[in-house]
């Protein structure tokens, strides 16, 4: 017993230190190469760089328009996403809207329907000339176009539709952590609903909402797919698409792209730092793990109006895009009012021969399973080390693990591309590289999810086991893991979905033998007709939906058996 006790901590410490070094290596290594490339002022093709300097950064102000575009689009998207998120969070958490449970589940779906799919669909819907909505508008007698999705506001709209569900979850969490009796006390004191909202509810919720706003804004800065599909055809660039363009064009301008990447990284880093400060200090509503169920306000006849509001968010972000894609995919030349002869299944026939469907899909599924499985194990262990172990430097570990969040995926992949190109082990262009990339960029996601579950786990449960004489490994197996199971399964699913829908990192790291789903849809978009792309996107969505459904069924059965 005693020897076990004294061996325990040092084994833990050893594991801990090793892990910290490994994680730091994976996370910092690409960033180093990114920085190196950004300071390269010599011959761009020579490796390693022949000369270093600040020239690339000095050249950045020339691209002030792109910076402005980025800020404009991100800001507009954040505002819209917050409106969607706040409205739906309020309605679903605080009113007696009908079908609340169903709507809550529906709110998660936009996360699965990627912004890319949304961008493709909305492009088909809202392109000024050819968009279905505009065609219908003109048929009804309108002039020109009623919506122009191929514009900064259009890009912001699409981004907001999909980030709205993230905002919903974050703001909902804030609302759930407010004691409802605070509002009741206000009412008792004679304040009406409006006064109560202004004087009590909003001031209490605001710090949390502000935190969510900063987080969403940082995400928008690094966002890629909507701007790629909708912006590049009309020469509208944001920083991420500009970086991509610089890397993909001929001849590529790597150092400039790297300099842009570094600046974006710096801004995002600062924002996220700001975010953590806000939620740590200014929030009155402490997230202590105690969740209240807010008392529902009876809104009477307004119930159906509110239902319509939530419903229309789901329709706009999920139903309408999918229907649009279906509609386009079965036509030869997609128009709003097709002649009978325009319908065809050829697109599906061709789609099944394309790389994107054949190889990319199976690659993505395999990669998804690998990422999720290894990722859960990895982030589970990291979470445990950060929150439950006594190893020195676990604060530092948490910081390192959260680091990739500050780096936009595309930029991170850029560093990785450079870093792994020269790595002696030939993994460049293979699925292994993508696996490493995914695991690294999804570290924050996994650690955050599992940590929140871990924190709710009472320490004394584990300690009791320790007192009973169980070793660390045994306790992990018999106490901690079973209790964590639902959280781990949720994290698995989250990582699986995230890896399959990933674009920014994959598009740069993809190789001929490692094509994956989302970038393949993008190259299809740029390399073939929109009807064909729609068919491919739908095939992939259906297959993915089936995979998710299958896994959900399996895990539900497993958790039921596990008890």
């Amino acid at each position: 017993m005693r020897s076990e006790r004294s061996a325990g901590p040092s084994a833990q410490t050893f594991v801990g230190i090793t892990v910290i070094w490994l994680v730091a290596a994976f996370v910092i290594y690409p960033v180093f190469y990114l920085l190196q490339a950004s300071f390269d002022v010599g011959d761009p093709e020579a490796r390693p760089p022949t000369a270093y300097g600040f020239d690339n950064f000095e050249g950045l102000p020339k691209y002030w328009e792109i910076m402005l575009n980025t800020l404009y689009v991100s800001f507009a998207a954040t505002v819209m996403a917050l409106v969607f998120g706040f409205l739906t969070a309020w309605i679903l958490n605080r009113t007696n809207v009908p079908f609340r449970r169903t709507l809550e589940q529906a709110m998660a779906v936009p996360y699965y329907v990627t912004p890319l799919l949304g961008a493709l669909a909305w492009s088909l819907l809202g392109a000024p000339e050819s968009g279905f909505a505009n065609q219908i508008w003109r048929a009804l007698g309108g002039q020109d176009a009623i919506i122009d999705i191929v514009s900064p506001m259009g890009i912001a709209w699409v981004m907001a539709l999909f980030e709205g569900s993230v905002a919903f979850v974050m703001i909902g969490a804030v609302m759930k952590s407010m004691d409802p009796s605070l509002e009741e006390a206000s009412q008792i004191n004679g304040a009406g609903r409006f006064y109560t909202m202004m004087r009590v509810t909003l001031p209490l919720v605001t710090p949390g909402v502000l935190g969510a706003a900063i987080f969403v804004f940082a995400e928008m800065l690094g966002s890629f797919s909507a701007a790629l599909v909708l912006g590049t055809p009309v020469r509208f660039y944001v920083i991420t698409t500009a970086i991509y363009q610089l890397v993909a064009q001929y001849p590529p301008r790597i150092p400039l792209a790297a300099a842009m990447g570094v600046s974006l990284f710096a801004v995002m880093f600062f924002m996220l730092f700001f975010y953590r400060r806000i939620i740590a200090h200014r929030s009155y509503v402490t997230v202590s793990g105690k969740a209240f169920r807010p008392r529902l306000t009876d809104v009477g006849g307004l119930r159906w109006v509110l239902f319509a509001i939530c419903g229309s968010y789901v329709v706009l972000s999920v139903v309408l895009p999918i229907l649009t894609l279906v509609y386009a995919s079965v036509q030869r030349l997609a128009v709003a009012f097709p002649a009978v002869g325009n319908f065809t299944l050829d697109n599906y026939r061709t789609a099944l021969t394309q790389n994107a469907v054949r190889y990319a899909m199976s690659n993505s599924l395999i990669l998804g399973v690998l990422t999720a499985t290894i990722g859960v194990a990895l982030t589970g262990m990291l979470s445990w080390l950060i929150h439950r172990s006594r190893i020195p430097g676990r604060g530092l570990l948490e910081y390192i693990v959260m680091f990739p969040q500050a780096v936009p995926r595309l930029v991170f992949a850029f560093g990785m591309m450079w870093a792994w190109l020269v790595f002696p082990i030939p993994i460049y262009g293979t699925l292994w590289l993508l696996l490493i990339a995914y695991l690294t960029v999804f570290l924050p996601l996994g650690v955050r999810t599992i940590s929140s579950v871990l924190l709710q786990l009472d320490k004394s449960l584990d300690e009791c086991g320790e007192v009973c004489g169980a070793s660390w490994g045994f306790r992990m197996r018999t106490i901690t893991m079973p209790l964590l199971r639902p959280g781990l399964l949720a994290a698995w699913m989250l990582l699986f979905i995230a890896s399959v829908r990933e674009l920014g990192a994959s598009i740069l790291l993809m190789g001929p033998h490692s094509q994956v789903l989302t970038p393949a849809i993008v190259s299809a978009w740029f390399g073939s007709s929109s009807e064909l792309t729609a068919a491919m996107a739908l095939i992939q969505t259906v297959v993915l939906g089936l995979a998710v459904g299958l896994f959900t069924l399996l895990t539900r059965r497993a958790s039921r058996q596990g008890g």
Binding site: A127, R235, Y250, L333, V422, P426, Y428, P512, G527
Partner: protein, 360 residues
């Protein structure tokens, strides 16, 4: 970039007296010629099938590339043929980056402009392989020295417009008409990575001088990555005019009943030869040779010439007409003749074209 002799060449050095550092002496090969299906090949069929795979880098669109691969795999089911597509410029920088990092995954590569192929050849990256099919090609359509790459087809472009949005009498009839201010913001072209676009730029510059493109940039054209995209947008009316309308794409969309009309300006249609060749250090050398032979043969050329997503005019001596009975010689084609000048203009083209498109 240092020019590294291939392994093959190094072997020959032991036999031959002189060492030629630049280019390759095409030594006579003693490879047995067999007949496979309906064409002759010097590839070792058994080994090719053992290799079982082929990776093809091409400038084509997704549909075209997939079609070529499918056709080859249909003929040789044991060889799994796969492709990676990107426009010529992007494709070129990709393969160069890979090779400089020591990655050699590609078997055969196809560029849409000869200038790039020549540059690639200068770096010694094409494998020397004298196909038995080479007899069916004029010397001008083979590499110099022969055996590195060949012209697997020709494509040419004119002007196209959307008939719903543009009345016939207003439509441009000559290249100069594209400069009309009414076509500002509704004109599309390809990006600087396109080989075809480079040729158009070069040829029209030769015809009308630098001022032509300076004036054209005032039209603020939209640049795209594939002809499918160009015609997709044209058919739907997102653009009214396409300034680089490949005839092959026009035929495809015309068959789909898209409201598009094609204009062949009197002064001529810029045309480019596709250059296809086997790459050195190919992981599947025999399969690569088989592919080259297949592509050069009537069989492969038929696919390239007739498949709706390809429609490249064949330059084989005994090739049949293209669909619709047309032949390449029915059109007035503008092809770059002075290769050195053509190659030298590339840098200027990239800079000017990127700036015109508002790229960075």
């Amino acid at each position: 970039m240092p020019k590294t002799p291939t392994r093959r060449f190094a072997l020959q050095a032991g036999l031959a007296a002189a060492m030629v550092p630049v280019g390759h002496q095409a030594a006579a090969q003693s490879r047995p010629v067999t007949k496979v299906l309906d064409f002759t090949t010097s590839a070792d069929m058994a080994k090719a099938e053992q290799e079982g795979a082929l990776l093809f880098y091409t400038h084509d669109g997704e549909a075209g590339a997939a079609a070529a691969m499918d056709a080859f795999s249909a003929d040789f089911p044991k060889i799994k043929a796969s492709y990676v597509r990107a426009q010529t410029g992007a494709l070129y920088s990709k393969i160069l980056a890979e090779r400089s990092a020591g990655r050699f995954d590609v078997d055969v590569i196809q560029f849409s402009d000869v200038g790039t192929a020549i540059d690639f050849d200068k770096r010694g990256a094409f494998e020397t392989y004298n196909s038995p099919q080479a007899a069916f090609y004029e010397a001008e359509f083979l590499s110099d020295p022969a055996g590195h790459y060949f012209c697997s087809g020709m494509t040419f472009a004119g002007i196209a417009y959307n008939t719903d949005k543009v009345k016939a009498e207003d439509a441009p009839k000559a290249w100069k008409d594209l400069l009309d201010p009414r076509w500002a913001n509704v004109t599309s072209t390809k990006q600087s990575t396109s080989g075809m676009q480079f040729v158009e730029w070069y040829e029209l510059r030769k015809l009308y001088g630098d001022d032509y493109w300076k004036a054209f940039s005032k039209q603020k054209p939209h640049g795209f990555d594939s002809r499918a995209q160009l015609f997709d947008r044209l058919a739907k009316g997102d653009d009214k005019i396409c300034a680089l309308a490949e005839w092959a794409a026009y035929v495809l969309y015309h068959d789909r009943k898209a409201p598009i009309a094609f204009v062949a300006p009197e002064d001529g249609l810029p045309a480019t030869a596709l250059a296809t060749g086997m790459v050195t250090k190919a992981p599947h050398p025999e399969a690569a040779r088989l592919f080259i032979d297949w592509l050069m043969s009537l069989r492969g050329q038929a696919v390239y010439q007739q498949h709706p997503d390809l429609l490249y005019g064949s330059v084989r001596k005994d090739a049949p007409p293209m669909p619709g009975g047309v032949r390449l010689r029915d059109f007035k084609l503008l092809v770059p003749s002075d290769m050195q000048d053509f190659l030298g203009a590339r840098k200027k083209f990239n800079a000017d074209w990127n700036a015109m498109l508002g790229l960075l």
